[in-house]
Amino acid sequence: MSGSAQLLELPEMNAGGWYEYAEERGWGDGLPTLAPTVESVDAYLAEAGPCGSAVGPVPPSGVIPDVRSLAANAVMAGCPPAAFSIVVAALRAVLAEEFNPVGVMATTHPCTPLVLVSGAARAAAEVNARHNCLGQGWRANATIGRALHLILVNLGGSRPGNLDRATHGSPAKYAYCFAEDEETSPWPSLAVRRGFAPGGSVVTVFAAEGPHNVNDHGSTSGEELLVTIAAVMATPGSNNFYFGGEHLVVLGPEHAATLARDGWEVARMQQKLHDLARVPQAVVSAGKQAELAALAVEAASGYYRMAGGPESIQIVVAGGAGKHSAWVPTFGASRCVSVAVEGSLAHA
């Protein structure tokens, strides 16, 4: 990688002192970080091994990061060295033009990069795909997402109220990472459906809002479940309503099993959700209807369809037992990006 990390001479301080020192300079996310000393970064990189090809520049600052700068942020986040090549891959995906990194990091919308891990790297880096996979309590999930966010803040300069203009933001901006449960899924993984070889390590990033729950304990057929999921997706307050962009539907394993039992395949689920996810014109204000008309978005037979075609609805399986799935809306002015994990986890 190009660029060169800047070494700083700091006074002697303990862990608490470092936390105060870093926070005063805006080098963090509000939670405690570990001090990225020369020794800790060197040891981290030695343990992490090869981590993949060059990345950068990181917007909005345009800084081209040195691998030591990336590792320093991973150390600060508490990210295990075994997961570092996932962080680097996620950054490479975020910096792709179609992801629109400047817009994602600067927008008033509460989106943030969601890191979805597929393939062999999930086990090697111990990324959780099951119970509470979008919640707390699992180091790889918490710190891969956090490391990526710290890189974007500390190197890209995307700080709240300054270059990060989010109106409210989201708790997901601290850390947002999970894995597909490919072993439980009745269907090929998202990575395979996007053209990658089965088993290869792949990271897909979405400019995502936090997850919206889909509770359905009552439906007993796949078709009924799709009615409920589509109803959750059909909201005029979502960017996906008129901007397009992907929806990510995270099917819990029990909902997935019901859908698979009833013969649903991914393409047919995408089409059905697209057909069912309609917003009644009556719940859209006159002003918003005028805005939509200016964007050539028109209602038909009293309903608006969600923008974006069936292929914009991405479906994966993850989570633990329970009659819940999740709908993850996105920024809209961004497209999800998948990249192969390189380096030590490429074929873990």
Binding site: P60, G62, V102, A106, G157, N162, R165
Partner: protein
């Protein structure tokens, strides 16, 4: 900004809230001298009379020769 970088004279209009972001973007794209017209935030969700006020703010910042004819 893209027009300016292609040699086409252009002025970027931003709200005061987004001025720091516009300046950072201009710097990162090697265009630190980007001309900005700064109007009060927000521009979205305004009544027509309020929007006319924003337009007046913008026009007042143009050089006289650039202003539309009265």
């Amino acid at each position: 900004m893209e027009l300016e970088l292609r040699g086409v004279a252009a002025v970027t209009i931003v709200t005061d809230t987004f001025r720091p972001l516009a300046l950072a973007q201009a710097r990162s794209r090697g265009h630190a001298g980007l001309a900005l017209i700064v109007v009060s935030h927000p521009v979205g969700g305004l009544r027509p009379d309020e929007l006319a006020g924003r337009a007046a703010e913008a026009v007042a910042q143009l050089a006289p020769a650039q202003r539309p004819a009265e």
